[in-house]
Symmetry: C2
Subunit: 214 residues, 2 copies
DNA sequence: TAGATTGTTAATCGATTAACAATC
DNA sequence: TAGATTGTTAATCGATTAACAATC
């Protein structure tokens, strides 16, 4: 079945929300509970889940641990993912020790760079390899996800190297649309700043006219 | 007029695409040229632009410099934006020197932290201030955009401090939905990894059945 | 049983796209 | 003028939401 893209994104949000409930020792939640936390409609939650199965109990809601486990399977975080980061600059280094990753089953096993000064050194305990060793290292360490944290001009080239080395998916922090055959997820930092600039400008202009901020 | 959210996102993409054309010395482009680079439909480009005015010449296309200037005005990057980053950890420090920001009219003028070890030091030339000086410094430096680069548990609190200090918009790197009255743009790194995990799992399962990878 | 909440259908809403007259 | 490409309308597509029967 065809799953709407927004549904996939929300699955990650449900997962996080349910993790918080579990940490708080909550056993059962309703679609309404989840919806309130996430600022969406309860029917949205139920519809999203219904693409994958029937996980709730009528009259009762959802068993937090059970649903968490189901969603983990759906989005694939029931297993650990081996990750390599290409680009040992500031951003790549920061990602290496980013707690959100290690906490969520993403293990950074290698960094790659083309700067001889950096190769062989360690960043937060992770070795920096020569980019020319990419294919060999990816195979040896069974790396499945590649992260592009290099400057814009090098990104497409790195994407091709990653694809050739047998990587299965790419998280791209460079501000370019990549042409590849593997799935790519863009984290477009500059675009986020531009969007917030737009919204700030819009808000100040509507605030002048109007007191009912949309 | 109500502008679709996806249109706003694409405006940033058009801006970047046109910047590249300008750097390459291209004077005129058609909606088709832009669409091809961005993997969308030409009518999408024309429709998006039509929300804001008539910028093209029939039979000719769009004057690159002129359109760039128009879009810069629309998304608000015709002026410089003063930015403060809260959280002088790895991510906050990396953002301080992120070339994508300085290149696009976003100037990081201050870092904030609550760690006495860090306060007063400089990171990439930017002073780390005490978080308790937030309001004063935001006013003094005329900071308009705040960046949240603190751990999850502190994010909502920081958002409230930013709002109280008079900031106009927030770019949030913490994995929480914030409750504020100012515009927020989320950069959800963990969610991007989860999405790529989902897509990798899905692709390998469909690849087994099917050779026409969607 | 009565109350609550699910899973699902159908209606609504919003965004994308094709098509084409207008016009450079 | 002939060819190209815009701006815009209308049709299509896809996602959200309300409503409600099913059922715990």
């Amino acid at each position: 079945m065809k799953i709407p893209r927004p549904t996939v994104k929300r699955l990650g949000l449900y997962y996080r929300c349910l993790s918080n409930y579990r940490e708080d020792g909550v056993d059962f939640v309703s679609s309404q509970d989840i919806a309130e936390k996430l600022n969406i409609k309860p029917s949205q939650v139920r519809k999203d889940l219904s693409y994958f199965g029937e996980f709730g109990k009528r009259g009762l809601g959802y068993d937090v641990k059970k649903l968490l486990n189901e969603i983990a399977h759906i989005i694939g975080v029931n297993k650990e993912w081996n990750v390599a980061i290409v680009g040992a600059g500031n951003l790549g280094s920061a990602l290496t020790s980013y707690p959100g990753l290690s906490k969520h089953k993403f293990r950074v096993l290698a960094l790659f760079d083309n700067n001889q000064q950096k190769i062989g050194k360690k960043v937060s305990g992770i070795t920096v390899y020569d980019i020319s060793d990419l294919e060999r290292t990816v195979n040896k360490l069974k790396i499945e996800i590649g992260v592009i944290a290099v400057p814009e001009f090098a990104a497409q080239h790195v994407a091709e190297l990653l694809e050739k080395s047998g990587i299965k998916g790419i998280v791209n922090f460079a501000p370019v649309r990549l042409r590849t055959n593997v799935p790519v997820e863009d984290v477009d930092i500059t675009l986020s700043f531009e969007t917030i600039a737009y919204n700030v400008v819009k808000k100040s202009s509507t605030d002048l006219l109007d007191t009912s901020n949309d």
